[in-house]
Amino acid sequence: MIFLTRRATFSASHYYWNEAWSAVENERVFGRCANRNGHGHNYTLEVTVAGEPDPVTGFVVDLKWLKDVMERDVMAAYDHRHLNLEVPEFASTIPTSENIAIAVWQRLEPAVTAAGGAQLSRVRIYETPEIFAEYRGEA
């Protein structure tokens, strides 16, 4: 089994806010992240797929294909957007790094599975170079 990772970057804004809570509670839990005017990050996304190299091409997947899928299914929706206001899955889910990792998995998994050959293995999202979350498809 070979693990292949493709990295991409995008920039987006977001804020953390739980509608079920008071403003005081949101500010207590989320601090500056609860500022309703939002703030932004340069995100780095790492998508890892796992599989055996094709005996003819030597590829687990074609990296250009993976790049295009990431561009179509993730970057087109997230890059230079306000995640809370412009990305449907974050209308009711707080766009924390954990939830972004899960959402990216859900966006990419159908295309990777349909292509056959490789399985989606891991999605890691860096909010800053020092902070990241990842999702491995676990329940």
Partner: protein
């Protein structure tokens, strides 16, 4: 749903690789310049990976402020700008980065509630790093 949350921290410390179980010549042969008598230092990077359920109310595996505070108190304040060989942990074992990585894992085990500690990575330089995932990992 189970997810992972990771955070990178930095500290600077010195160490000398020298085993009391080896002769001077053997230490020299084993550790090379890392055995130089007065030690040397590194800018270490510690990457701490926690695993747990994403809390439905917060969208988080663990609160970042809590996480930072635990690591600051237990790891950074203990190891930043010190000579690792003088820490009580390293009177009985050589402060290689393998051992440092395992000790940091032990010091953080059970402290990042409600998450579980999944992995500790210690980067000694930009070109070498060590990971420990507990005895079962």
């Amino acid at each position: 749903m189970k997810a992972y949350f990771g955070r990178r921290y930095r500290f600077s410390a010195s160490h000398r690789l020298h085993s009391e179980a080896l002769s001077e010549a053997e230490n020299r042969a084993t550790y090379g310049k890392c055995n130089n008598p007065h030690g040397h230092g590194h800018n270490y990077v510690v990457e701490v990976l926690a695993e747990g359920e994403v809390d439905a109310a917060t969208g988080m595996v663990v609160n970042l402020a809590t996480f930072d505070e635990v690591v600051r108190i237990r790891i950074i304040e203990r190891f930043d700008h010190v000579n690792l060989n003088l820490d009580p942990i390293f009177t009985a074992e050589v402060p290689t980065t393998e051992n440092l990585c395992r000790e940091i894992f032990r010091l953080l085990t059970g402290t990042i509630e409600p998450a579980n500690l999944a992995q500790v990575r210690v980067e000694e330089t930009e070109n070498n790093f060590f990971e420990y995932r507990g005895e079962q990992g």
